[in-house]
Amino acid sequence: MNILEISEVTKNFGGLTALNDVDMHIAKGEILALIGPNGAGKSTMFDCVAGVYPPSSGTIRFKGKSIAGLKPWDLCRLGLARTFQIVKPFAARTVLYNVMVGAFLRTSSTDKARDKALSVLETLRLDHRKDMLAGTLTIADRKRLEIAKALATEPELLLLDEVMAGLRPTEMDDMIAIIRQLRGNGITVFIIEHIMRAVMALSDRVVVIHFGEKIAEGAPEDVTRDENVIKAYLGSDYATS
């Protein structure tokens, strides 16, 4: 069963076509990576899927139902959570406070929200930072916090926008392990990623977009050998390395 179905989605910003007639889907339990050069329209796709703005045309179905007219908070309640490419912590509040905001979606009890937030922080190995102000965290911890907040809403589908960017190699390995663990817990993961090592390590399937159009789709090994993809995105260096 497909948890997300995107059909013929086009998004225009004034005269600029950020997405052009894109079809894609994600099966339940899958890790799908969306890759493509800067400005290809990847984050725009997340914004459409998460209800930030409606696509100019086309339909998006989450768990079989069209999301037309639904707002970000409606979709989050239905089980769709996302992180932002430019992380948006509640900077003046503690890490625990940040995650509790997410946890309150499924409970009105402050005690339960705190317990939930603490257990999510443990999953992300961020519990030792719980009393720090979110604005004082390192990049790596900020990215984890971004995931922790989303995770606290108990999503079925998690959209991760470039969570590896700015991480050191060991931090990236931790992050890869964390995302695998999430999938192990039954969460479907839709990632946007530039770092091919992470894409190769994580994804079951890859979709490549370029100037708003889908140019390739398939298993990671196949996609990275695709000539169009190499020309448009990976560069010939990648093919030979």
Binding site: K71, W73, A81, R93, F104, T107, S108, K149
Partner: protein, 332 residues
Amino acid sequence: MSRKQLDMTLLALAGLISFGLPLLIESPTYLQILILLFFYAYLTTSWNLVGGFAGVLPLGHAVFVGIGAYTSTILALQFNLSPWFGMLVGGMVAALVGVAIGKPTFRMRGAYFALCTIAFSEGVRVMIENIDSLGPIKFNGPRGLLIPLKGESFWNYQFMHKEPYYYIILTMLVLVLALTWFISRSKMGYYLAAGGDEPDAAQALGVDVAKYKLIALGLSSFLTALAGTFYAQLMLYFYPKGILGLDLSFEIAFIALIGGRGMIAGPLIGALVLRPLNEFTRIYLSNQLPGLHLVIFGLILILVMLFQPKGLTLPLTRLYDRLASKITTTGA
């Protein structure tokens, strides 16, 4: 002594002192100053629900004070209903008006929202100033409304001495502070703060930011209007420029900013600083230069914003933390 015991002892002491003050203070003038101090602390605490926790800057809260005062007074004078009942009606009218203004304006960011609230409350003031009567209801235009003295009566919300007013506003203040404390620790408090800090992030976490802001504004307007009735009954006279004017709206915001927006104790601390100053300048300086007190407020605000941009509550809390840790460690 543990920290918690210290906190509780001091809180009990503060409670005892505020409860006992009328027994010590004989002069009605001084008692009136205290009553107004609590009145402003109450107003600002109500304002803080939306202006502090929800991170927007309403600058027209006088309109809700006015709605409270006019509603209960008109119901009492012309329909013979108890001001206590009118107070609740006024609160509900204010909540409806608050939600009605909030709905279209909360989508605006920053200064635009503030300007809209000013425009709305000024609009209402000018309207009331130009209405002598509306059907059977007398507004009396710019002259305002006078509540005839009926003698000591709880039903009529009239007391011959200041003490009952003191205890009424003290009770209101304690309740509204407790409510704010409770909200700040509840889902609503987290949602308001998140929506105020980073609306996009909050929405992505399932927070209907606009809805929570509306609830906060509705509640804040309701509570603010209750104080309007209190003021009317305390003074037995009010007029549009005083009770619906920008001076009142701005003073509330001044107190909040100086005390600390979004902090529970902020309004109380702000009122403790600004109210005595206001009374002092009014008594000693206003003959020489009317409006001087606002200039002084402005200067203080600039100084506080420069050196303590989050208001005075934060440094005071830190100071208290340091003193408390000394007492609790040396005492143990």
